[in-house]
Symmetry: C2
Subunit: 543 residues, 2 copies
């Protein structure tokens, strides 16, 4: 459990969790004091309490650090209040974060004005999680009340839907004020998502300095290296001294503050110096003597995933971005990379789940949106699977004569599908780790031979099991032989298909995860139908 | 394309890629000069060349920055050498990194001694990729030749198999020397993977300071926060001045150099100060006035994934780790988090592919290892799917009477399986983003209702399509109605199952990705068999 460190909220203690507690009870004098006393008795430190009265009822929202699980607290609070008040009030509690979001949302929906107080106790993501649980009208009432810091966070995280809501309720100046809280590259990401007319008007509200940065960055799409690089970086010349640069760091307001970029007279990248090295070097030392070249640099149009891959591979914290002439443009930081990795992981999960990454958050997507996201894949698979149905239909006479043969079709198809997706994940991982290159012929040959050997072993085991099981269920030796043979062939075939698809995808410049699972399933299913039913026809029925 | 910045290797130019080129030709005087001239003519800068002579043949390995794709270079070099020499030499080339690894491996296999030169031109991961492509005997000959820096990198990255190879070929002192090149937390990760006796002997070879750090860290398993935290951090007291701390930074050799941790007299965590803030503050200022508390701190036994999630959520670069009494233990850095995210993504891909994350690299795993990794899942699914087979077998008489009914079973199962895994990925993502909490009853109700509405819509569409398609193929209205009805029911059922599994997994403290896809498939398959075939029996055959 992570505990919120209580900045303004008293001393932090280990093993505590910060809870949000909601109480609804008949209003009476001293109610709050009793609750506070009970919480104190349970070992909690009360950070804040907000409350209001409605229809004879008191509604309280408390933030407290407690040595209890939320459920324990609710039970205790309920029992003790019943003992003291003679009635059982409504109590709810959740750990700060997503667990407490619906409690906070309920409260904000009834009294939007209280967000201004809550902002001091909830971090922007916690507040935003509560807002996401509100109906749009309620959310619109809240935006104008929020601080620029919270607004900035929401702007940078929010999907189109939220962005639109905000732009309709906030003044241009409020939005501009919030944008200034962001790093230039984040502000530009927001600007890029706006309609051009609005973007221009907003740019005019921004200070000259940010406008200049924005102009530089607006050229690069968000999924490129240029789209995630940071330009707010201390840059010095090779002939500058350590003293000069320390002066520069003291004056400037940069997003990267632990590294100084060294360039030559024409702005070409020379190397990096860490602040640690600056602190240790003699004040008169020239930067040219300290600057070190990282093992790689990258161009601004490259895929941001490539930057992430390279920085992880070579364990770099800062990757310089340079243009074709070697001029320094910006730095990709490991912070940016962590963000990219998290987003790409979400994308992969969506792809492996058989759909495009949804454009919006689940909470904001209407049912129609969800259907639109999910249906295309389903239809595609459906159409291809219709082929399987037609193939099986072609063997109608076989099935008519030996109906039990049909019982084993799903089993064989599933085994093949699983083998295929196992082989795919193996190869995706080996590609990601650089163990095989999709462009090296000897590497590909290696994969094919290794997979052949593995699949033949697995196939033999599955065939044996398939024989035994189907003989027990079906009681027909020839059918059992057909099943065993099909399993053996299909396991090898599915494995090779599954292993090849990621390599082919990479060679075509596609995301290997995009192409694998559903395709393997489909290819396997059709081939199972053909191989199995013709074997049954031949071996069992002698057709 | 990322270009290697040429440190000692001449000036770096934009739009160049660093290539490794191998040439085999009949040995003759002036051969190398010709090749160098051709490369120069193609716009390449030669960084280095290594060569040796064997059986009248010259074998050359060159590293060069070229404005060409490897394939283009190979073609050009071949043509021009043929023109000049009257014979066509063997030429191969690949971009530095995985693409070139098999070329380098071939060279090192023949002349292991050359790695000492190659080390100056290849980063450790590039060299390691080549080593992975060697047979174990050849690899064993190389280890003793490598520098401590390269050995350190391999030790920290290597799986058990490689670790064992290294420990058998290197002296204890060589390993200890390499470990000192690593950050303490990385060194401890290596130590934790060693047998206890060996670990103790190695610890004795290490300097006192590292031994002390190691003792602190060895308590925490690698997948906990304690296992990834960095302890080599500048720590100062609240009453220290800015001047004192700058002095501390100048003297010390820390892994985190951009942040100073401030603690009180009892070592309890007070806050963080960035070096930037130190540079700007008056030299006599007390740290207590500068220290800022991050919004959260974390305990050392927490899951490292939880630290990653929180740092991304609250956009933190350094997360303090404290014990139950609030004493400072170490920092989790965003660099650590990037590594964790990459590893977890690999794990998720393996899980979604239907297997445990393999313990070893693909290259190192024998066929038997691969079979062992993959077979358990396949058998599990096979056993459960046998249930499907038995269920279908129970409807043998139905299928016998209307064999065409069997043709549609895979189609319906696949549709259900896909709907289920879509719903799973949606919910996994919403959980990860904090849009829903697995512990909030109102959030779960929200998901159920939204999924019901979505699934009913999708189900209706699929049912309609199913009716049309199966009527065309089967020509039987009642069969088509059975199929449509089954599709409608199965889509809703599969969706709800798929959506619930990640929530249940999280409540049980399991990884949601671990439980989803294959389970959904299996549950769906069995229910399709029952629902569909009993509907066919009733509606079509009137049984």
């Amino acid at each position: 459990m992570a505990s919120l460190a209580a900045g303004a909220r008293g001393t932090w203690h280990g093993s505590m969790r910060t809870l949000v507690v909601a109480v609804r009870a008949r209003d009476r004098p001293g109610l709050f004091t009793r609750i506070a006393r009970i919480l104190h008795g349970l070992g909690c430190n009360l950070a804040t309490s907000l409350g209001y009265r409605a229809d004879e009822e008191a509604r309280l929202l408390l933030v407290a650090e407690c040595p209890l699980e939320p459920e324990e607290l609710v039970a205790e609070l309920r029992t003790r209040l019943r003992e003291e008040l003679g009635e059982e009030p409504e109590v709810d509690a959740g750990e700060i974060g997503p667990d407490a979001a619906s409690i906070v949302a309920e409260f904000v929906r009834e009294k939007p004005g209280l967000v201004t107080v809550l902002e001091a106790y909830l971090e922007p993501p916690d507040l935003f999680d509560a807002l996401l649980r509100l109906p749009p009208e309620a959310r619109r009432r809240v935006y104008p009340l929020l601080s620029p810091k919270t607004l900035a966070w929401i702007l940078s995280e929010a999907e189109e839907e939220i962005l639109e809501e905000m732009l309709h309720t906030l003044s241009l100046r409020q939005v501009a004020r919030a944008l200034q809280e962001l790093d230039p590259d984040e502000a530009v990401d927001v600007l890029q998502r706006l309609p051009e007319a609005l973007r221009k008007r907003l740019l005019q509200e921004l200070p000259e300095e940010i406008r200049r940065e924005a102009a530089k960055l607006l050229r690069y799409p968000p999924e490129t290296v240029g789209g995630i690089m940071t330009t707010s970086v201390p840059v010095a010349r090779a002939e500058d001294t350590v003293q000069d640069v320390l002066q520069l760091l003291r004056r400037g307001d940069y997003d990267v503050t632990d590294t100084v970029v060294v360039v030559d007279g024409e702005g070409r990248f020379v190397g990096l110096v860490t602040v640690e090295e600056l602190l240790r070097a003699p004040p008169g030392e020239k930067l040219s003597r300290l600057a070190r070249r990282p093992p790689i640099v990258i161009g601004p149009e490259e895929d941001r995933e490539e930057a992430a891959r390279l920085m992880l591979r070579y364990e770099l914290r800062r990757l310089p971005v340079v243009d074709e002439q070697g001029r320094f443009l910006g730095l990709v930081t490991i912070e940016d990379v962590a963000q990219v990795l998290a987003e790409e992981a979400a994308e992969d999960i969506a792809l492996l789940g058989g759909m495009e990454k949804p454009r919006e958050r689940y909470r904001l997507a209407s049912v129609a949106d969800l259907v639109r996201t999910r249906l295309p894949w389903l239809l595609l698979i459906y159409v291809i699977e219709s082929l399987t149905a037609s193939v099986i239909k072609g063997y109608e006479d076989v099935i008519e004569r030996i109906a039990v043969a049909a019982a084993f079709i799903p089993l064989i198809m599933d085994t093949g599908g699983n083998v295929g997706s196992q082989a795919s994940s193996m190869v995706v991982r080996a590609l990601a780790l650089g163990e095989i290159s999709e462009r090296s012929r000897s590497d590909i040959l290696y994969v094919v031979l290794k997979e052949l050997a593995t699949a033949a072993t697995i196939g033999a085991i599955m065939a044996l099991l398939g024989f035994i099981f189907s003989y027990i269920v079906g009681g027909n030796t020839r059918l059992a032989i057909s099943i065993a043979l099909t399993l053996f062939i299909v396991v090898i075939f599915a494995d090779l298909v599954g292993a090849s698809l990621p390599i082919i995808a990479r060679r075509l410049g596609l995301d290997p995860a995009a192409i694998s699972s559903p395709f393997v399933t489909t290819i396997v299913d059709v081939s199972v139908a053909v191989i199995y039913l013709s074997l049954v026809a031949k071996l069992v029925l002698g057709l």
